[in-house]
């Protein structure tokens, strides 16, 4: 078949839909799920808030891994930096206004993103992965040694955020923290939707698929990736700060290799390269962990492992990615 034949026979212009409409639906789904979570699990709001914080970490990881193709097992460094910065600001410097704490977390996350981006992006492939592991261990050790500020292995406690806007006390049931988390999540989601659809977002997707082509267009691959790392850091930092505000403690585990690896697992589970995939992966993984670990505290990790193997083998694009593909194929097969 010649090339001309194909141009005439290929289905012209697959319907792309109106992107803003889809985003509004996305926001509506998030809000509905949030309200549903509130009424269905009123005793588990702390867990739900933790899921939101981790979602921000996974979203942030999605930016560098899913959109830019950077392999990293050290992304919790950005989350932990945000958490510790917010915590230290509150405990040592007396900045207990929650919005300021989130802002400080975002800045610290962005700085940590810059630092780890500069280090990690020096390598490619396996070297990159090893560098990222080195980064997370260094961050972990730094927090461990600076115990005057971080509380070391005891964790940083005594974080007492002020009421939100001076009105809403962070209550024992975690209602305020939960609502605060949802609002932050929706805000970040909207900004990231704009980002991934922007020329810069398109450039980053190009970098993932063929960095040599991108540089042959005259764009700087390295500078773009570092820029994305800084943005990613701010997002993870917000997640960390939210965790500090809601739990009022920061532990070394927030800066751990395990936290990084789990975030990657959640992303792969949900589907890298899509913001919705990050949501789905986090919820499924954390909810699964919560339920299964309660049912069988000894073997829950085995079950999580089995789930992961199933998804990677049979749905390599992740839960959301695979579902989206199926839906697209279904839509196309209809006249």
């Amino acid at each position: 078949m010649s090339a001309t034949d194909i141009s005439t026979s290929a289905a012209p212009a697959v319907h792309t839909g109106r992107p803003w409409q889809r985003d509004l639906i996305g926001i509506a789904v998030i809000l509905l799920a949030a309200i549903g979570g509130y009424f269905l699990f009123p005793d588990n709001l702390a867990l739900l808030t933790r899921i939101i914080a981790i979602m921000l970490l996974v979203l942030s990881l999605d930016l560098v891994t899913g959109y830019c193709g950077v392999a990293t097992l050290g992304h919790a460094a950005l989350f932990g930096a945000g958490a510790y910065a917010a915590g230290i600001a509150a405990v040592t410097f007396g900045i207990t206004e929650p919005l300021s704490m989130i802002g400080i977390g975002a800045i610290a996350g962005a700085v940590a993103g810059l630092v780890s981006g500069v280090v990690i992006l020096r390598g490619h492939g396996l070297a990159q992965l090893v560098l990222s592991i080195a980064v997370i261990h260094l961050f972990h050790e730094a927090a461990n040694k600076a115990s005057t500020y971080t509380g070391g292995s005891d964790g940083l406690s005594g974080i007492a955020p002020d009421p939100l806007f001076g009105l809403f006390e962070f209550d024992l049931w975690g209602r305020t923290a939960y609502a605060f988390g949802i609002v932050l999540l929706v805000l970040v989601f909207v900004l990231l939707r704009i980002l991934v659809r922007s020329p810069f977002g398109m450039l980053c997707r190009g970098i993932r698929q063929d960095p040599i082509r991108v540089s042959a267009m005259g764009a700087s691959v390295k500078a773009s990736l570092i820029k994305m790392y800084v943005i990613s850091g701010a997002v993870a930092g917000i997640g960390g700060a939210l965790n500090a505000v809601s739990t009022q403690v920061v532990g070394l585990d927030s800066l751990s290799f395990t936290n990084s690896a789990e975030a990657l697992v959640m992303l792969v589970l949900g589907g890298a390269g899509s913001l919705y995939g990050a949501f789905v992966g986090t919820i499924v993984f954390m909810w699964f962990e919560h339920v299964v670990s309660a049912a069988n505290p000894f073997h829950w990790l085995t079950i999580v492992g089995a789930l992961l193997i199933t998804v990677v083998l049979f749905a390599p694009k992740g839960l959301y990615g695979t579902a989206a593909n199926l839906a697209k194929r279904f839509a196309r097969s209809r006249p």
């Binding site: 010649s2 012209p12 922007s198 020329p199 082509r213 540089s215 042959a216 005259g218 764009a219």
Partner: protein
Amino acid sequence: MSAIFEVERLKKSFGGLDVTKDVSLSMARGDRLALIGPNGAGKTTFVNLVTGHLQPSSGRVLMDGEDISRFNPMRRVRAGLVRSFQVTRLFSEMTPEEHVALAILQREGKSGRMAENFHAMPQVMREMRGILETLNLGALATVPVGEIAYGQQRLLEIALAMALRPKVLLLDEPAAGVPHSDTFLIENALAQLPDDLAVLMIEHDMDLVFRFAKRVVVLAAGEIIFDGSPRDVTEDARVREAYLGSYAHAGSAA
């Protein structure tokens, strides 16, 4: 007419092996030059030296009189020296529309923008559509590149080069991998390139070379052995020898 692109005494050796020996070349605006040569002549090395992917042992590359020898590949592109690839390098999950828009945005220095979408930029959309229509890719504008035929991917490579509006375009075997019956599509696309653009094409398909090029340069064993019109190249004794070795004279002997 002054030269837009000059290569001065370019040399490259790997260890003791000289792959490029003293190559000098100059092109004026609107030149259509074909660089040919037998396998292993150093054509790809030449392209890599010129685009900055390899550092020459000595020699200079000039664009519009400016020495770009010390520029990295990215800055050379920004200076107006654009290349296409022998094997297509495209973003398989992205559509032709996105490819061309990205190239236009990059050229205009807008590829770092973090808000807006190119669909909402009328100028970008107009130019993008124009380029895709010129190359008959309009119907495929929103199909992921991984799903379109190889011949059309080759056309998209040319579309990207057009969108970047270079001063000098290096085409590395634009018809490679395209069935012979479809070479005319590539040829038509090349005919759409702006008249004042200097084009250097590396190609093995001699029909394409003779129809496209106004000037032919033959590279053999790292040296330029011929620089002249397509009409004369087949008659040149050194060229015949480079391609055919001792068989070059077999015809006359027999």
